[in-house]
Subunit: 533 residues, 2 copies
């Protein structure tokens, strides 16, 4: 494949980017434009009149998608071909089949690999259904604590908070992720251990933080006179050190074709979400995700929401040169969702070599960040409106609230105020406002789009999750990078082990960490100086 | 004052930035370098060997500080001169005296304006002390809910979570900020209203979200058969609509010289923090902040921690061209602190005109973002190590945990593992690692620094807060911009009102919102289409 910068459509897009449409011109940004630049799928609408694109730009972006074969790659991915590899280098060489974890509904894939993965996933789901039924009968547990980090934490946590309005009344979920002992202490202070089930999640069964935190849990269970075996289950790869019936009440499986950051709909998210929300709602969530996976396969690009999102990302990043992208959900329940998207996007596409192993000479993933609105308006929006860098924004909004416990004040409900603010910000950023006071001048042309759905329920949350997962995959396909590995985390891990050796030596353990690690020693000396004796 | 780009030191720094030190060269990054590039104040250490600076760079940065008179400006600010203004334009024209809110300890300011502000602040503190004593005697309230947004929410919330380990056992704090009705519903489901005191915070007494949410609270108190007057207090400006003894159990005051994002140590943070932590601990927190304020006045720049932080920020932003900066606390308790710093920094310095009202032709604030470590390592660190953009990182670490409830596993404690990871990441980012597999190659030279303190206690938290507040002010002084206003939030507010008119009209209220707002109508039509009938 021709490298990204040399593609014909890229040259064309570079030309278009020299003079992108001016959204502050009233003749450009019209009601007609709003209606022309909106796409819809499954009742979810994506408004992109606030982006600096025209129909011509969209056509050029679609040519880019064609040149990069992204729809065919999406089909290959969902069919279970090996997508996680770098040509000519040692690499993971794996299939990428998170979409199979939820392909139990309409038009399931007929590809062998995908069917097989779905079959495996369904078996786990059935195991889980039975396990939860047994729990229900025994009424033993009211609380579940997820012990995991990264992909085993951020996604399930974000989705749990997003759907807390739908949880079972007598069930609570907690998350213990950080190796910081204060994280564990804080979580444990809230628990009645007798009624608590822990689910330890690690694909390899060897994640240092998670093993450490599991030990933290076991110690406290024993101290409380409880048998850890009756209070801990695991989610792990078959045959891993954590697949051990002598130590766990049950084990649920994941496979090497499920990346951590793509694992929410596997057992990684499944156990705790189904426990807290009930299996029916978890299935609604899976179905929403699966339906959006099918949208990602649509040949008609203008209704392929994840693809449009990816194309706009690439336009903003590579052609307009924006270094970050904010995701601003106008929904407090989504307050942890940007942190999940940060991992999903930046760990997938924060890469410096393409799939042929060549160092790229163009920009890959921007920094993804965000906080809920309207809160953000009273915080960093000052800079989005008047800073020196353009920060593209993706707003997420819902027509209805979850609890429907609203208040009418000064003629409108809270939900109406929330939506009014979302649309107002979108318009204000795009159109700006001239003012003779330079400090009250708004330059406008601040790219943004709006993703609008009816209500944040399990089904919609599944759609949202899949929208972003598939958008991220499309971005990787467009750049021809591998969005499914994470070699960049290895060096830090290695050095951390050397540092822990310094602590262990101080404790009396023999080792040679210090002598061979002079830079580590240099910092370590300061640690010792400052420490309590 | 000469505009930033034309200053002599800026020209010199531009030269130095052409060939910044290569940290991947073992002869450059030595143990000696670690010891040379560390500054200390009040037992807090700032390590910046991981930044792409040498002594020569630091000297040039110090010349920049001198040219921009930043120390004299800091003295003026803390003395109560009018600092919040833009020359030649209508602007707020206010003093900036958040440092006076805590200047009750060593070497208080002798400047008239500052003394007067401190006196006012101390009166409120005494009022609060008495109020809390009365509450204690009556044993009426176990829970307090802060109703406020932006500066009235993020800072107090971040500090509460940071210091939750020190809270009184029978006290809990909650935060209700978003106009999203699901935010309120979620908070209320946790409360026993009889035992709950609400503190509504708005300087002007007219923040739309906060007034709406206050109404949300009042309705529910009435519905529960309680008298709102006995359950709501206010923090507001004297004489504001919220300074009304007929509606509030008590009112505590703030003044126009306290910006929202700088208000944590005023009554904005004071009421809920002193309620939850106790007055003694709140005073410890204030004292920590005040001591760091004095550090910000130090003429010896190499021990002026907030100034060094600001200079490194400017070096990374304006000379090395980095668009974002991450703050990564290796402390789960600080999980909301980056959101506070996001507001503090981006609302203060996300500006496009200088103090003479000239549009600037250089970059002001970067995007500030972050999540706790080690969690981030399993998420976006991939991109920090191997992405195409350099993302400077400020790590925050502590030698000791808060709860001291730790577990020894594989030879080290959790706290030791946490610290090991922090130092390991810092080194790995700076030095990188060569590898023949291009996908396992780490380019290094990824700027970072480490702020290290003994323990996250109230005193240290005060120091940390002030470190950032003063760093942000210094950055503004260096760029000669006004870090104390936020005109960029006005346009969105105005348009939101127009949008709410559309909803109100639909409800039957007469108005002309629609006709004069065709773009609003264009979006609104989609809202109506999608809505539940």
């Amino acid at each position: 494949m021709v490298p990204f910068p040399q593609r014909k459509s890229v040259l064309r897009l570079n030309e278009l980017a020299e003079e992108p449409i001016d959204l502050t011109d009233e003749e450009n940004f019209t009601p007609k434009r709003v209606d022309a630049l909106v796409s819809e799928a499954l009742g979810m609408k994506l408004f992109y009149a606030g982006e600096r694109v025209t129909n011509t730009t969209m056509e050029a972006l679609e040519s880019l998608a064609e040149e990069a074969n992204v729809l065919s790659k999406m089909r290959s991915m969902q069919a279970g071909e090996v997508m996680n590899f770098i040509e000519g280098c040692e690499s993971e060489n794996r299939k990428v089949l998170h979409t199979a974890m939820r392909d139990f509904f309409e038009q399931p894939s007929s590809a062998e690999q995908a069917k097989e993965a779905s079959h495996l996933a369904y078996q786990e789901l059935e195991k889980l259904t039975q396990f939860l039924k047994d729990l229900e009968v025994q009424e033993l547990f009211s609380d579940m604590v997820q012990v995991g980090i990264g992909g085993s934490d951020l996604g399930p946590r974000a989705v749990y908070h997003a759907l807390k309005a739908y949880k079972k009344e007598d069930r609570r979920a907690h998350f213990f992720s950080n190796v910081d002992p204060d994280d564990g202490a804080d979580v444990f202070h809230e628990l009645d251990l007798k009624k608590t089930l822990f689910v330890v999640v690690s694909k390899s069964g060897s994640t240092l933080e998670t093993l450490t935190n599991e030990e933290f849990v076991r110690e406290r269970l024993v101290k409380a006179g409880l048998d850890p075996k009756n209070h801990i289950i695991s989610v792990t790869g078959k045959g891993s050190p954590m697949d051990d019936p002598s130590r766990y009440l049950a084990s649920f499986y994941i496979w090497d074709f499920i990346g951590g950051r793509y694992s929410v709909t596997s057992m990684v998210g499944g156990v705790i979400l189904a426990f807290a929300l009930g299996m029916d709602r978890f299935l609604d969530f899976l179905q929403g995700a699966s339906r959006m996976d099918k949208v990602a396969l649509r040949q008609d690009m203008r209704s392929n929401l994840p693809l449009i999102s990816a194309l706009l990302h690439v336009w903003n990043r590579n052609f307009l040169g924006y270094a970050t992208a904010a995701v601003i959900p106008y929904s407090q329940a989504l307050f942890r969702f940007p942190a999940h998207l940060q991992q999903l996007t930046m760990e997938s596409n924060g890469k410096r070599v393409d799939k042929k192993g060549r160092a790229v000479d163009f920009d890959t993933s921007p920094v993804i960040w965000g906080e809920p609105g309207t809160n953000g308006q009273h915080s960093f929006f000052q800079m989005i409106h008047q800073g020196t860098s353009v920060i593209p924004v993706e707003f997420i909004g819902f027509l209805e609230s979850q609890y429907k416990e609203d208040t009418l004040f000064q003629g409108t409900t809270c939900q109406e105020k929330l939506l009014s603010n979302l649309f107002a910000q979108s318009l204000a950023l795009a159109t700006g406002q001239k003012c003779t006071n330079p400090n009250k001048h708004f330059p406008g042309n601040r790219s943004n789009r709006i993703l609008l759905a009816r209500k944040l329920d399990p089904h919609t949350m599944g759609m949202l999750l899949s929208y972003y997962e598939n958008s991220v995959a499309f971005q990787g396909f467009l750049w021809d990078i591998n969005s499914f590995d994470q070699e960049g985390v290895q060096l830090g891990k290695k050095l951390a082990v050397q540092f822990t050796e310094l602590f262990a030596e101080k404790r009396g353990k023999k080792g040679a960490g210090g002598k061979s690690f002079p830079l580590g020693q240099a910092y370590f000396r300061h640690v010792l100086e400052g420490q309590d004796e």
